[in-house]
């Protein structure tokens, strides 16, 4: 029942938003917030059952023999769902401030599709098999298109087309065959602890299938299928924040981890040498994306490339194929979500308050927007992996996993990327706080509207909180590992 | 003798066909295709297909020529010289012909009593007709009863063509009718041509009589509803040519024609439905009377009447629809 509610709440919410928009804007936004809170409470209420080892499920119907439409909650999915639904609340607060302050049009469409995108995200998180996952994966792509193309001018539509094109092409062209192949050899696509391919598929074919999956899941943005991510930055900042720091990209890496853990089986994959390439592909992406990020001057584009790098971090962690690294990977999903959403929020706040979009414009802005820039600093530190932020915790686990398997490529990549991250974030932080303001710029702005500041403060606090109080999270994630063992 | 005659007729058929395609004058093409149909009919007669010969003559040489001529009167008399190259098509067609000829070498021998067509199914009809229906013309028996469902379909094909032409052309004069000095049928008919008019009027009753003969004699000799319908329609078309279209429409107004089209088709269908109501299958006529054989004969008579009525109505409707269009 609770599972069903997790879908009904946002869908009904979307309809109510539509209805409420006829009455007044305030009511519409009230409904949005209420829906977000209700959804979060609903999703979070499932955690205790899960911690005690329960695996709630909801089997709806069998579409074809062997292909069900159903949901089953396991720790990894729970983590993702809880994250997405929780951050939706914060994001709603932020959106209200942003959309009003920038006087965006078609706000109702924005909120409706936002709610639908969250529905799809929850669907991805809870799905019990590859088919259901694929269904919601595509729904998410389609529901986010109106959000990305929100502005509606020619340039935006062109970028949105790249977004849609890359995601649909990879999913239909690669992911779907991979899923079909899986069903064909294993006879099922259910997510099963320990995987379903052992004994069904061996040798280089396994590596090939892994390739189809990883590149098919375009949302994970492993190079060269990362092109959509910078393109999607034409979206309004709240969209970039939630969808491209949390929902869409995390749906990608989540799916990768889920496929590795529950379809391939960590041990089965580890034993197959031909799957080793994934680690190198991910490491390559991490380094190259970081170098590209170095050269960006637009804040959002910089963040986009940073995201590409961080996502491959997760993929790489998963590809180490050791329990500790898997914990690190799922931990990094959370840590990066908190950190990156803070950064995006800050970028949006800067744009709203000062209409600044470029890095070089930020000199000395810290004095005018102390809250925003403090949060930005915390987020950036988390990206680099400096204590006391969540980023440190996840990197710690990943490193530990890498040492466990004596994987020196991974270790080198982590160290190298940390240096690179520091190289593109630290100068910004330095300039923000310690440079003089450029006198030729407009200097009459203060902080962004209060809902935005509130939201980014919350996420910054969460980033630090993740460092201090991460025990329950690790307990939850250990359950995934427990399954793996 | 028959062999020589057969060769002669077939060769003539081929020559006519080539001439039809070659001629750039459409009028000549149409007249030649009328001849073609007559030659074909003679061929059919040589092959023991009297019913088919009669129908081919009535349809190919009669109705189809009238329709084509009416259409020519409205559209064009000459074909434009073809511009595209025809060599490619010619080569393909010749190759296909050779392939077909090669393939037909495997056919069963001509008129061989041991051929499958004479062994299976057909003998049953010849035996069963006398026993179950008791009429001489086996073709009519197969057409009306054994394969009556096909014939029902055939009636509805005619029906469809009829309503199709009415739908396309309507019952109103076409957009160019007013500007037309030479209409297909002169409003006054051929009244100022004494000889054709007198002879024509004299012939009409005989044609009608012959039509009715063909209609009701179909069970005994060649003939049946379709041929009869064509003949009766021809008589009335002749009347329209002689006396003017309006006079013909006074005799049989358009509303009546629509009624005939629908009525004939319905008549056939309803006879079929009676089979169901009387506890047997659709189109089983034997239940129409207490004596199954009489029932079959009665059924055949009624359905042939239905066919005749519909065909008459459709052909006349098509003629009037064409005639109402102007020339431009």
């Amino acid at each position: 029942m609770t599972i069903a509610l997790s879908f009904l709440i946002p869908i009904v919410g979307a309809l109510l938003i539509l209805a409420a928009s006829r009455v007044s804007d305030n009511l519409r936004e009230g409904v949005t917030l209420a829906t977000a809170v209700a959804l979060a409470i609903n999703v979070w209420s499932l955690i205790p059952e899960l911690m005690s080892g329960g695996r709630p499920e909801l089997q709806l119907f069998e579409i074809l023999p062997g292909i069900d439409f159903g949901f089953q909650i396991e720790p990894l999915g729970m983590l993702f769902a809880a994250l997405a639904s929780g951050l939706w609340i914060v994001n709603s607060i932020y959106s209200i401030g942003y959309m009003r302050a920038n006087k965006e049009n078609k706000q109702t469409r924005f909120y409706v599709f936002f709610a639908l995108s969250i529905t799809a995200t929850i669907g991805i998180a809870f799905s019990a098999n590859l088919f259901t996952l694929f269904l919601f994966y595509e729904v998410l792509t389609l529901c986010t298109y109106p959000l990305v193309s929100h502005k509606g001018d020619a340039k935006t539509i062109r970028s949105a087309r790249i977004y849609l094109g890359v995601l649909l092409t990879t999913s239909i062209g690669l992911l779907l065959p991979a899923i079909l192949w899986t069903y064909f050899v294993a006879g099922t696509g259910d997510f099963t602890p320990g995987g379903i391919l052992e004994g069904n598929l061996e040798g280089p074919a396994l590596g090939l299938l892994l390739g189809l999956f990883v590149f098919g899941i375009g949302k994970a943005a492993v190079m060269p299928v990362h092109r959509w991510l910078p393109a999607a930055m034409v979206a309004p900042t709240p969209v970039s924040a939630l969808l491209h720091a949390v929902a869409v990209v995390k749906a990608g890496v989540f799916t990768v981890i889920k496929v590795i853990v529950y379809i391939f089986g960590v041990e089965h994959l580890f034993a197959e040498p031909s799957s080793g390439w994934l680690l190198y592909a991910a490491a390559f992406t991490v380094i190259v994306a970081s170098i590209v990020a170095l050269k960006q001057t637009n804040i959002k584009r910089l963040l986009a490339y940073s995201t590409v790098a961080q996502l491959s971090y997760v993929v790489m962690a998963a590809a180490i194929l050791k329990p500790l690294a898997e914990v690190g990977a799922s931990m990094h999903i959370v840590a990066h979500a908190f950190g990156k959403i803070t950064l995006f929020f800050a970028a949006g706040a800067i744009y709203t308050a000062a209409k600044k979009t470029e890095v070089w414009q930020l000199k000395g802005i810290g004095r005018r927007m102390p809250w925003t820039m403090a949060a930005f600093t915390i987020g950036a530190l988390s990206m680099i992996g400096v204590p006391p932020t969540g980023g440190f915790v996840s990197k710690w686990f990943i490193l530990a996993g890498a040492f466990e398997s004596d994987n020196y490529v991974a270790i080198a990549t982590i160290i190298g990327s940390t240096v690179l991250n520091a190289a593109y974030f630290l100068p910004i932080i330095f300039a923000v706080w310690f440079s003089r303001e450029d006198p030729e710029q407009k200097l009459d702005h203060g902080e962004a509207p209060w809902p935005m500041v509130t939201a980014l403060s919350i996420t910054a606090a969460l980033t630090i909180g993740l460092f201090l109080f991460n025990a329950p999270l690790i307990a939850l994630e250990s359950q995934i590992v427990g399954i793996v063992k | 003798m028959t062999v020589i005659f057969g060769f002669f007729l077939l060769t003539l058929l081929l020559i006519t066909a080539v001439a039809i395609v070659q001629s750039q004058n459409l009028f000549v093409s149409v007249m030649l295709s009328g001849m073609f149909s007559l030659l074909l009919a003679v061929n059919f007669f040589l092959l023991d297909a009297a019913d088919v010969a009669l129908t081919e003559a009535a349809v190919g040489a009669g109705i189809s020529t009238v329709l084509l001529l009416s259409a020519l009167a409205i559209t064009a008399k000459h074909e434009k010289a073809p511009s595209s190259s025809r060599v490619g098509a010619l080569i393909i067609v010749i190759i296909a012909t050779l392939v077909l000829i090669y393939a037909t070498l495997g056919n069963p021998q001509f008129a061989d009593p041991n051929a499958p067509v004479h062994q299976h199914v057909a003998p049953w009809y010849l035996d069963k007709t006398a026993e179950a229906i008791d009429i001489p013309n086996v073709v009519t028996a197969v057409l009306g009863s054994f394969r009556g469902y096909d014939t029902l379909g055939e009636v509805f094909v005619v029906f469809t063509a009829g309503i199709g032409v009415l739908f396309l052309l309507g019952t109103q004069p076409g957009p160019f009718a007013q500007s037309n000095p030479f209409k297909l049928t002169d409003p006054k008919g051929l009244r100022h041509y004494l000889i054709p008019r007198v002879v024509g009027r004299m012939l009409i009753p005989f044609i009608l009589l012959f039509g009715l003969y063909v209609q009701f004699h179909g069970e005994y000799g060649p003939g049946g509803g379709f041929q009869a319908g064509a003949l009766i329609a021809a008589a009335i078309i002749l009347f329209a040519l002689l006396e003017g279209e309006n006079s013909a429409l006074k005799v049989i107004p358009r509303s009546v024609l629509i009624g005939l089209i629908a009525g004939g088709a319905l008549l056939y269908g309803v006879v079929g439905l009676f089979g169901i109501f009387l506890g047997s299958n659709f189109l089983d006529y034997s239940v129409l009377s207490s004596n199954p054989v009489k029932g079959q004969q009665m059924g055949l008579l009624i359905i042939e009447a239905g066919v005749g009525i519909t065909v008459t109505g459709v052909l006349l409707s098509i003629f009037h629809a064409f005639a109402a269009r102007g020339k431009f």
């Binding site: 193309s149 | 393939a103 299976h120 379909g153 029906f159 009415l166 739908f167 319905l266």
Partner: protein, 496 residues
Amino acid sequence: MTAFHSHLPVLQVIVPMLTAPLVILLNQKRLPWIVATAASLCAFAIAVTLAMSVMAGQTIQYSLGAWPAPWGIELAVDAFSALMLLVVTGASSVALLAGAQSLDKDIEHHRQPLFYAAWLLALSGLAGILVTADAFNIFVFMEISSLASYVLISGGPDKRALPAVFKYLVMGTIGATFYLIGVGLIYMMTGTLNLADMAFRIEDVADQTPILLAAGFITIGLALKAAIFPLHIWLPNAYTYAPNMVTVFLAACATKVAIYVLLRFDFFVFQPNLVGHDFQFTFFLLPLSLLAILVGSSVAIFEPKLKRLMAWSSVAQIGYITLGASLLSVSGTTASVLHIFNHSLAKGALFLVMACLGMRIAQLRIDNIAGIAQKMPWTMAAFVLAGLSLIGVPGTAGFISKWYLITASFESGAMGIALVVIILISSLMAVVYIWRIVESAYFRQPEEDLVITEAPIPLLLMTWVVVLMNVYFGFAPGVPIELATGAAELLHGQTP
């Protein structure tokens, strides 16, 4: 089984058929439509009843005139024909229920009785082909349905409908005549016209040239009627310029019925016996299907006229159907039959949407519908869902048949991988051409202010009924799968 029940196969045909003459006698304003719709719904009810009987395991046979087969004409309804009957009668009923206003717009009032009569004849002709078990009877009903379709298409408001329908008439007649030649040659070698009897008696003579020739003639003739690439050239214009509702009806079923006959002959009559049967499929139909899929989709991508775009997409989709059949396996044929059903649903819905748009916009071009989603939100939402089904997104009917098709391709070994790749590429092409329309309707600004409203309620309602059926059969495809599997096993000579 009641006495009445046993007459259902023939009633399926003659109810619409005998209603047609009645309809032309009616000239009150709405009466022809009411009567035609009632007859069509009645036919649909019969089809549902027949399908239920078939699913209960019966093959229903009926002897016309109480003459036993093979001398009399026999009707037989099995899983394949039951499924097709559902499609045909369903498409007709939906189009009629939805189409009163749309047809008022295209057809003048005084011509409507004739039009509806032609509609019913087309319906009964198609149904007649499906229920009969007699080769020549198929020809007769094929001609009824063809002539009636010519009439229906010629009712299009654009004058270009006329050359289009003339081309259709010429090619359709050639197709039917080829079929007739094929049947004649088989008759010459076997002496029978009953399909089952034919299949039985053909075994002795299967290797002789006339039978091979007959197979060739029948295949080419029906391929013409079914618009199988490269014999599809009549289709785009005919669909484009027909009245919108006629396109809904015919696009959903006319070509598919020809494919039905083709599959019947190639698998049921010829298959176990004919020399070169496999060769014909693997080296002839398979490449053509692939070309159809790729060429049809490519042309659709660049086509500015909406209905024409849909028509080219149909050419591609017919390619999917023949592709399934040319895999020569039970699963391939299942996919093929299933795709007939599912594509009818998807394309029917899409053409209904075209009809909705056609009620409000004169020229259906991609540029003319810029921003129309604001004015017609329900219509365009229906378009999106139906488009997803056409693409084959999971959760829609289109996915089910693609799934089967891909599974069947996998089964056929190494070549299958290539087929899967092509299927997926063409799915992506479908995404492109559907998306062009969606993008124009949703994300482009209209040239000037559109002063239009949502489509009429009945039309919109039926559009959504079909769209929701697309979704329903995407999640609960039990019935069509059962019938399709039954049909495929039947065609491959396996008893279910």
